[in-house]
Symmetry: C2
Subunit: 334 residues, 2 copies
Amino acid sequence: MKMLINSPETVVADALRGLAAAHPDLDVDPEARVVVRKGASEGGRVGLVSGGGSGHEPLHGGFVGPGMLSAACPGEVFTSPVPDQVLRAAKAVDSGQGVLFIVKNYTGDVLNFDMAAELAEEDGIRVQRVLVDDDVAVTDSLYTAGRRGTGATLFVEKIAGAAAEEGAPLEQVAAVAERVNKASRSFGVALSACTTPAKGSPTFDLPDGELELGIGIHGEPGRERRPMMSAREIAEFAVGAVLDDLANVAPADGPVLALVNGMGATPLLELYGFHAEVARVLADRGVPVARTLVGNYVTSLDMAGCSVTLCRADDELLRLWDAPVQTPALRWGR
Amino acid sequence: MKMLINSPETVVADALRGLAAAHPDLDVDPEARVVVRKGASEGGRVGLVSGGGSGHEPLHGGFVGPGMLSAACPGEVFTSPVPDQVLRAAKAVDSGQGVLFIVKNYTGDVLNFDMAAELAEEDGIRVQRVLVDDDVAVTDSLYTAGRRGTGATLFVEKIAGAAAEEGAPLEQVAAVAERVNKASRSFGVALSACTTPAKGSPTFDLPDGELELGIGIHGEPGRERRPMMSAREIAEFAVGAVLDDLANVAPADGPVLALVNGMGATPLLELYGFHAEVARVLADRGVPVARTLVGNYVTSLDMAGCSVTLCRADDELLRLWDAPVQTPALRWGR
């Protein structure tokens, strides 16, 4: 498997050097592996720290900046960041208003962020945590007790980031983050496996002519394998799974935020064609779509495939979604 | 080869339906295959029309909107739009101030845009044309007399779009577009071939353990094949090729705009790592970088690989680059 890298050992540090070079408005420490919004601790705002294994870019480093994350801690590829890294990020962003940890529900991430929270609190930093667990495909997956955290992470980071930017206190930022997670559901599909730099060959075997419904962003097993389906059939399955689950929890009406996300290697031409089918299914089911993002946002290295994330959004969530954001991967308003 | 599509025949129309659903601020006609900025003909501005074969998304449809293109005409995958399509776009955007056609230098595109220009002029629309031919890899390629047009198209569309948005007259918009093209050079590298939906198998054969230096965005042959190289070696080769050529034409000092572009299937993690090496080579050669874009902007379906585009930018070009833009794929300011 050919890769555009120097060596498997330096992949994460090299990417952080590149991030630093491309975005001088970020403080990037490729050695300590922390990406910080410049001046994060000076604004008197609540700090937002997220992170997780690398390989899901632009998540999380690409979402650091005004209106979104204060800092991100990338671990090795598909490996949790260590507590020291998270602690360093918390210290770098705390302005005395406290810090919210946004954690995708994988056992290693949960443990290490919790340990970092204890250390930070010993240092006098108030910490709250929101756990993102939006993936309806399966429970108790390969690295997860309960549901996996995937695409909703972007919604949580954007909307909580807007609340923090407005000066909301820690409890309120944590509450809105929690609310976004509770109102969001995701479902992913793999057309191919991904290849980690360290392994150099596909992380699982997906035969020609088959796809996997309910895949995790590290290639964790989904619900089932089937003979290859059309974009229309995939959209019906994925959106159906998301809406069925969403009906059990959130108010059954109102508009949604929609993320039609590429896993990394699926061309944008295909993603937009897929979105046409997602939009059709939503229209057929009477679900109004308030905002849409189509593109590669929560990826799985070079996996081909896609995921759908929907968030039932009230006026307040929509207002915070629309608020200005200035990060490498998400940027609008000023 | 598995794809996230309904059928090879409907790929382009399906993607346009998806574009329409995701971006209600665009007028998309999936049948006529024209993407138009809403109200394009009402602003009293020069119209900017581009287009070309599909398969390079977000180019061009993703660059339609305030501050950039007025309309885009996507052809079939890797196939020129037809003159009627381009004419329809010209009519949709002309406000009496004339229209600039931005054409990548491929024989079919040149012929069909020229034919559309004749038809438009018969209808009383003033048309000027800029030909983008930035790719230094080879001359007289598979579909091209002279040099191929690739990544500089983004620079031309953004900067000319900003000039048009400011109300510059047609001759001036055309002149700045020409100036950007003359100041820009690109070089692309393939780690894998791409697969068109119609063919369903890779368009060329690139053995394991080899890469192709100087690849075209339709898989046209480059300069040479070599055993796989590191990101550092590839950056040295690609940036070297670009700078060597740029030295012959533009002022030999001053900052550059840099586009480090993914061909479609290369993870962003790798692209940023590659950019670290690009930035290092530029620093070593004493070339200051004024602005950087890293991501998938001018793609080749599911090809793995990358390209580097540099544009020598004076203060005027930088000012126009920084001007607000609101398109699906490029968005900043307001």
